[in-house]
Every structure is written in structure tokens, then in C-alpha cells.
Amino acid sequence: MTTPAAGTHPLVTFTPSAMSPEVLEAIFVKREPLAKRIVSSIKTSAGSSSKQHWLLVGPRGIGKTHLISLVYHRVTKAKALRKKLVVAWLREEAWEVASYLNLLEAVLRAVAEDQGGDTAALIDSALDSFLDLPPGPAERAAEDLLRRIVGTRTLLLIAENLDELFQGLGPSGQRSLRSLVENTDQVVILATTPSLFTGVSSHAQPFYGLFTVEHLHELELAEARDLLGRVAELRGDTKLAEFLSTPTAEARLRVISELAGGHPRIWVLFANCLSIELLDELVPLFVKMLDDLTPYYQERMRLLPPQQRRIVTYLADVAGAPPVKEIARACRLEQRSAAKLLGDLEAKGFVRRAEELSVPTTGDRRLTAYELREPLMRLCLDVKESRGKPLRLIVEFLREWYGGELFQILRAAEDERNTIAVAYVRAAFHSYAARFTGMPHPTDTDVDQWLQAIAFETCVAAVVAGYVGRLQAVAGFVGVPLSSDVAEWTRSAPVPPGAVLNPEGLERLLAAAIRETVEAHGSPVGAWLITATARMVVDPAFESQLVELLVEVAEDLDPERVRIALTEAHPAGTSAWLHAWRQAAVDPELQPALSVLEAAVEWRLTGDRRSLLALPAELRQVLEGIITNA
């Protein structure tokens, strides 16, 4: 398999039937055993009178077209098998079929495409002549022609949206098709459908029991990671491919899997979003795909009674899988009615039960939870609701995947403010900031304060972990150059990442870091905390001296400045500080310092002195002294 050059984007189009076989194979995960079974079955069917027909069931975007495309390519690539087959792949023709005759015509056109040459010319001519015949004779003529062309071979009929096709055929058309299959022993059907329908599930219908039915399921996390890895390899992004096997990536993917819900098409979307520069191309195509799907979902919704429609709209809007009780309440329905309506919706394929929340042993439907069966429906509604704003799903993905790095990405993309990618990154960054400031709609000031916290998060983490090199990154991050002596020191005494600095060097580094970044931004509370905790890292026995140090540091500082820091620091910044410290202070030795900060922030936010009661007496007295003096 040749890997496309990095920078080409074969996956952006979301149309598996238009992808090359190499790409299809490259990103095929989870269903290899099933694909092999189907191919093997087609081989057996082509070589004998025994025929096995397949029906793949799953919501849109689950991978049906990918699977049958792959099977098609494998089957047609095998020369010996190819000779025994005539392939008719009905792609969008399902929509045009309104009778058995229409179906035969569609099949013949597909055969013409498959066979080409003289056969195609023959079919074209014949189809034209059928237009002059009444339906009955035209049907017979079409069947005869098909039989002649197929000869002793096997007709592999690939049909997507079988539910639509059967609806168009109607009962008599279905019976005729069944007769064709039964009487010729030369037809193999490989079909897909988004959900089960009467034509195959009702015992009274001619095709009941004919198909080997396989329900396609969502991707598990490991499978999704496999998919992303393959996409990375396909794009030649070895760095990403390596990163995906790290615990950090695993943790991010776990969060993102909640967004994707295991849906392969959404995972492919996310795989593409891993390269932000692709967003400019990707988003319009994704939105177009959703736009193309929207009429389909709208039509399905229109056929629902109003109360069922309300339930579906609610489920599209809400995150997770709410229980029946909650759905009933939100839709202003009696629980029993809601349960019945959900049962109907389940039978129609709109919703499904979320296994983890149901209580199956009691059989009590009120305790069952439901979710939308087709996540793409939610996305289509999102497009409609968002009215040109960034799509929620992509924003959430970027937020979870990139996290704090979003600011750097945004900074780097400052010159391209009007691109789609920048708009999405900005939206994701604000979403990220909103989470940590605790404000749903942070202002620029909020974000600025929070940025300082990011700086300190990085600074503290760098110091505590001994990553000297990151200090330079911090300086660059906030646009403040390192002073020459710190820069000199780092150059002259390079310390390998992870090494613990000697106390003297650490204090010098701290002093420089504090001077350059802390005092310049007026956050002295952090100053003495960094000092205190850094000392503790160096000297584990230091804890007993913490009280003295705090007093000493407090005396060193201008109390007025401390008071201002504690009382006038922006709430967003204060909370962000706390968050930054919580991220950094994973070492148990840093816990006392963290508890001081937590108490101080709690006091700051609530004004309640009882917040300080969490502290040991000695530390409480010190902090109270500072606050009292303020």
C-alpha cells in the first residue's frame, strides 16, 4: 500500500464509495472478520447454487458503505472470482425505484457500468426499447436480458438503503424480486439499511428469513484509537501516530469518545481535525455532508406524531442518555405515555436504549434510559440551530484534545484571523477558558487573568519538575524575555529534564522567574507560595519550617500588596490560580501549600472566614494575620 504524501487529504470527503481501495483498506478497523466472512460467502455463492444474502444494519455513518465498498473492491480484485460475477451496485438509485420494472432497469444500468463495452451498448439500446412496451412485457424483457447477460455467472446485487428500495417496490415488487432470486439461483444480494423494516422483519413478507443480518456497532475506544492512528499514518504524520500511543493521548481520547459516541464517521471527522490547518477545507465539507443529510432526517421527523417529534428533538439537544422519567418531565408527558412513545420510537429506529442506565431485571421501562440512535441527526439539527456559528461538536473536540495549547495555536494563527480554523480554535479556546474560570461567557479580561494562571501553571510545573528548558518556553509564552542572568544560568548549567535542581540554583531560578513573570503582573500571593513549595521540594524536612517561612515571606512583602492580591484579584484569576496550583501540586509534599491557597481563595470568593478552619492552627493564624492586616 502506498502512503499518500503528507499534506494530501484523502479522507476529507466523507464519501467511502469515492475513496480509493487503498484508503478504504488503510482506515478499515474493527470489522475485518465480518468483511472476510462476506467475501468468502460471495466466493462460495459464486461457485455453487447455494446463495447467501447479506443485510447490514446500522445508523448513518456507522460504516456500512465503507464495508460494502471494501468488499466490492476485494471481490472485484480477485481475478478468478471476478470472472464468475456480474456486479450491479445500486448507489443512489434506491430513490428512483417505484416498481419492479424500475428496479430491473436500475440493475441493468448498473450492470452496464460494471461490464462496459458491448454489453453496456446492448443494455442502453434495450432500455430504450423497453420504454415502448407495457410494464408487464417490459418486465419480462428486462428479466430475459438480465439473464442473458449474467449467463452462468452470479449477479452480485449491492443495494444501499434497502428500506427505501423495498418501499418503492411495494409488496408485489418485493414478491417479484423474491421470485427472481428464488427461480434463477444466480442472484446474491449484499444490502444495507439504516434500520430494520417490515420488509425483512415481518414474517408475512417474502424476504423474511432470507438475509443473514449483521448489525454494525459503534467503535470501542481502542478501535477508535486504531482508526486515528491509521489516519495519522496515511497522512504521513508519524509524530501524531506516536503520540496516539501515549497515556496522555489515551486520556484525551477517553473524554473525546463521549463526544463521538463510537460513531465511525464522527471519529473520521475528529481524525481530520487533528490537523487544524485542515479545518478550512474540512468544515465546509462536513457541513455540506450534514446539509445533504438534513432533508432525510427532516422527512423522517415530519412523519412522526408531534409528541414523538418533541421527544426526538429533546434527545438531540441533551447530552448523554436521560432516563424515561427525565424525558417525560422535559417533554411534559406522563411517564407511562413517554415510555410507550419511546417504545414506538425505538421500533421505528429513532432511539435506542442506553444499556448502562437501564434496569433490565425489573422490566420497568421508567428506569430505562434512551439516546438518539443516529448521532448525525443531532449534528444536522446543530447545523440548523447554529446558524453559521462554529459547530458545537468540533469546538468541543478541539477543546478536549488541545486544552491549554489552544492559546499558543491561537497566538500562532494571529495573522489569519478570518479563517474557519481560527474561528474554531478561538471558540474552543473560549470554551476551555470558560470551564476553568467557572464563567460560561468569559470576557477578555477574564481570559487575560486566566492566561496568567496558565503561565504560572507552566512555570510552577517546570520548576517543580526541573524542566529548565520550559522556563524559556514560558517566557516566550507570555512575551516576556528572560533576564540575561537566568538565560545565562540555564545555558551554563543545563539540567536534564526530570533532574532536581540544587537548592541554590533553584532559588536563583525561582527568583528570576518570579521577577520576570510574577511581579510584572502583580500577583504576590503566588510569589510566596511558589517560594514556599519550591523550598519544600528541595528540602523535605522543610515542612516544619513552613510557618516561619510564611511569616518571613509575609513580612518581606508589602501587606498592602498582599491585601490587594487577596481582595482585589479578579475572581476569574483567583480561581484560575487555584486550578493551576492543583494541576501542579501533585506531590504530597506540596499539599500544605495548596491547602493554604485553597483556603485563601475560598475566603476570597465567599468572604467567609470559616473557610480558614480547614487549615492547621499555625497556618490559619498566619493567614488570618495577613487578612486582618489587610
Binding site: V200, T212, H215, T361
Partner: protein, 396 residues
């Protein structure tokens, strides 16, 4: 020649679901002989589809015990506690059973020592529940050791276990089964026959892990009582025709039709003849038999109580209710037995289904006598049950 004069015909009155005199229990002698044979070595769990005639069999055994063997019959359908069980056990032992005479004296002595009144009126154990009831059971059975072989024919044991579990907790029900097991292991002269209208496996699964569903009774031999043989079902039918004065076009042909359409289940045979007898005065043919069955299965008042086949699914297959319905629907409309793969495909045509779930379900449905496994695949164990299912479910 009147019907009663036909060779082999013994007139019988219809009595569907009622208590039959032992001599009217047809076609079970061989099975009962096998039961007595088994009881020489071990106790029995007698299972069968409802209405097959389990109770008739155990009552016949009670009425016609083997020489030298005592047989006590009791239905525990209404028992809801361990103390009630003990009371009834003691009452049975106290009963007028001559061969228990010497044992009864010993039992009385044992119980008197435990403070239990045994002489007059209803037995009242009046024991605090904790552990004393166990002691009563164990000591009573130990005392019975002198009485010679005794068979306890206990009907509706699963119902009782289920009720005890509901009222006194799963542990209590479990303990009761365990004590009875200890009795079987220590009291060589006592044998038990458990039987009932629901499978013990359902009840036991509800009170302990599924992996131990057979554990409390795995020392007992499971014996499955099937429908009558065709010959016996025909004989029963002809007896009933004679007893009820039902006139038929051709005695053997119509009787065979009755046997076939009822899958040789005595309960349904009785009902068909009863229905015919209610329209006396005319001569009935095969078509009338078919009409009677069709009407009964379709009737909104459900005279044959066939809705219980559906209701049992709701009660005992709650966690896989939809799947169970799909499996039985698929089997009901099939014209022949279905292999597992075919069942899976048909079920998957209606819903997403895991192959292992279906496999386990098929095992359970066999235990509950809904279906049977043949060399060709699975099918409804009794045609009439499959037919009733199709009617109940409005299947083609």
C-alpha cells in the same frame, strides 16, 4: 354397538384440570414405574409443561404406592414461610398413615422435647424461627428413619420457594432448600419428589447465582414428563367420547384428530371433548374438532388459559423479554425446525441480538418446555403451544 362396548374403551367423564381418580390416569404406568425404580436410589424433580398431568401422576403414586413404601402427598402452593412448611410437614406425619405408627411415636417424643405440641388439633411448632425450624426438620426426618421407606410427593415446591424468598428473603429460601438437601443425604429412607407449575430453575436463579441454578437439587434426578403417546391420547379421547356420549363420524379418525391437534396433552384433549359434549345431539367430524380448537385459541375469555404462555415470558424472562418474544415468534412461524443460525438471522431481522444471549435463551426455553431441540434444529415442543403463540401474537 355402543361406544362403551368397543374393545378397550372405558367411559370417562371430562374433568379438565380437575382431580382424576387414579384409575382414570391413562398412559402413565410406564413412567410411574420408572419413577418408583428411580426412587429406590434417589429423589426426583419432576418437570413438565403445564397441564401435562404431573399432579395426576403424583396423586396416583400416593394412591397406589409400591408395597412397603409409604407415600405422602402435599401441595405447597399456598405456603409462604418456613414455619408453615414445618407445620404442614408435621401434620402429614401425624396423619393416619399406618406404616408411620412407630415412627410417629418417636417423632412425637422428639418434638415434645423441643416444646412442640403434637397430639391434638393443628400442629403448632411455636418455635422462634432462627435455626429451630431446621432442627425440627432434621430431627423429625431422623426419627422417621425407623418407619421404612417413605416418599414425600411435594407439589408446587418452586412456588413455595419463591414465596418464601419473597416473604422471608432469598437466604431463607436458600436455607430451606439446603436443609431438605441435608435430609436427603442423611435420611436414607426418605425420598422426595418435587414438582410444580413453574421451573425450579427460575426460582433458584432468583435466590442465588445463575451458576448454581441446579446446585440445591443436583442430587435429585430430573425427569421430564412428556405428552401422552398418540395411542394413549387416542384411547383417552375415545374413553371421553364414550363417557360424555359424544357422537363422532368415525371414532378412531376423529379421536386421532383430537390427539394430533392437542399435541396429545390430556388437558387440551379433555377440553376439546368437553366442548363437543356441550353441543350434543349431532355427529361430529374432524372439521368440528379443528373449529373447537381455533375458537378456543381465539376466544377473548381464553377458556384454555393459553395466555399464560405469553404471561410467563413477562414474569420469568424480564431481562430478555424482547429477545425471547422475537425467538418464539421466529419459531412459531417457521414451517420446520430451525437451526441456531437461522433463528439468529430471523431474530436479527427484528432486533439487534447477541448470539450468546440467544443460545442461553434457547436453553432456558427448553427447560421451560416451550421448545425442544431436534437433530434438525429447534421447534416448539408442542404444536398446540406454537399455534396458541401465533394466535396470541397475531402472527401470520
Amino acid at each position: 354397538m355402543t361406544r362403551s362396548m368397543l374393545p378397550g374403551v372405558v367411559p370417562q367423564r371430562v374433568n379438565p384440570g380437575g382431580n382424576l381418580p387414579p384409575h382414570e390416569v391413562i398412559g402413565r404406568d410406564e413412567f410411574i414405574a420408572e419413577m418408583w425404580e428411580t426412587l429406590q436410589r434417589q429423589s426426583i424433580v419432576l418437570t413438565a409443561e403445564r397441564r401435562i398431568g404431573k399432579t395426576s401422576i403424583v396423586k396416583k403414586m400416593r394412591a397406589e404406592p409400591r408395597d412397603g413404601v409409604g407415600a405422602l402427598y402435599r401441595s405447597f402452593e399456598h405456603v409462604r414461610s418456613r414455619s408453615e412448611f414445618v407445620d404442614l410437614l408435621l401434620a402429614d406425619i401425624r396423619g393416619d398413615v399406618p406404616y408411620l405408627m412407630s415412627a410417629r411415636r418417636k417423632v412425637k417424643g422428639v418434638l415434645r422435647d423441643m416444646g412442640v405440641r403434637f397430639d391434638y388439633g393443628p400442629v403448632q411448632a411455636e418455635l422462634p424461627l432462627r435455626d429451630d425450624w431446621k432442627e425440627v426438620i432434621l430431627k423429625v426426618f431422623a426419627a422417621l428413619g425407623d418407619a421404612g421407606p417413605i416418599v414425600f410427593l411435594w407439589d408446587e415446591v418452586p412456588v413455595m420457594i419463591g414465596a418464601v424468598a419473597e416473604n422471608e428473603g432469598a437466604d431463607a429460601a436458600h436455607e430451606l432448600l439446603d436443609v431438605l438437601r441435608v435430609v436427603r443425604q442423611t435420611c436414607d429412607q426418605a425420598r422426595m419428589v418435587f414438582t410444580g407449575s413453574i421451573g425450579l430453575h427460575h426460582v433458584v436463579a432468583g435466590i442465588q447465582p445463575v451458576s448454581y441454578s441446579r446446585a440445591p437439587v443436583n442430587d435429585m434426578r430430573p425427569m421430564v414428563l412428556g405428552a401422552l403417546s398418540l395411542d394413549d391420547a387416542v384411547r383417552l379421547t375415545r374413553n371421553l367420547f364414550a363417557g360424555e356420549g359424544v357422537r363422532v363420524a368415525s371414532d378412531s379418525t376423529v379421536a386421532e384428530a383430537v390427539a394430533a391437534v392437542t399435541s396429545c396433552i390430556p388437558f387440551y384433549v379433555q377440553h376439546v371433548v368437553k366442548e363437543l359434549s356441550l353441543h350434543g345431539g349431532r355427529v361430529f367430524g374432524v372439521a368440528d374438532v379443528e373449529r373447537v380448537v381455533a375458537d378456543a385459541l381465539r376466544s377473548p375469555v381464553d377458556p384454555w388459559d393459553v395466555r399464560q404462555y405469553r404471561h410467563r415470558i413477562d414474569k420469568y424472562y424480564t431481562s430478555h423479554r424482547r429477545l425471547t418474544l422475537a425467538v418464539l415468534d421466529a419459531l412459531a412461524v417457521a414451517t420446520a425446525a430451525l437451526a441456531l443460525d437461522d433463528i439468529l438471522n430471523r431474530v436479527r431481522s427484528a432486533m439487534d441480538a447477541d448470539a450468546e444471549d440467544v443460545r442461553r435463551l434457547l436453553e432456558l426455553l427448553q427447560l421451560d418446555h416451550y421448545i425442544e431441540k431436534t437433530p434438525d434444529g429447534y421447534r416448539f415442543a408442542f404444536g398446540i403451544v406454537g399455534r396458541a403463540w401465533r394466535v396470541q401474537r397475531d402472527l401470520a
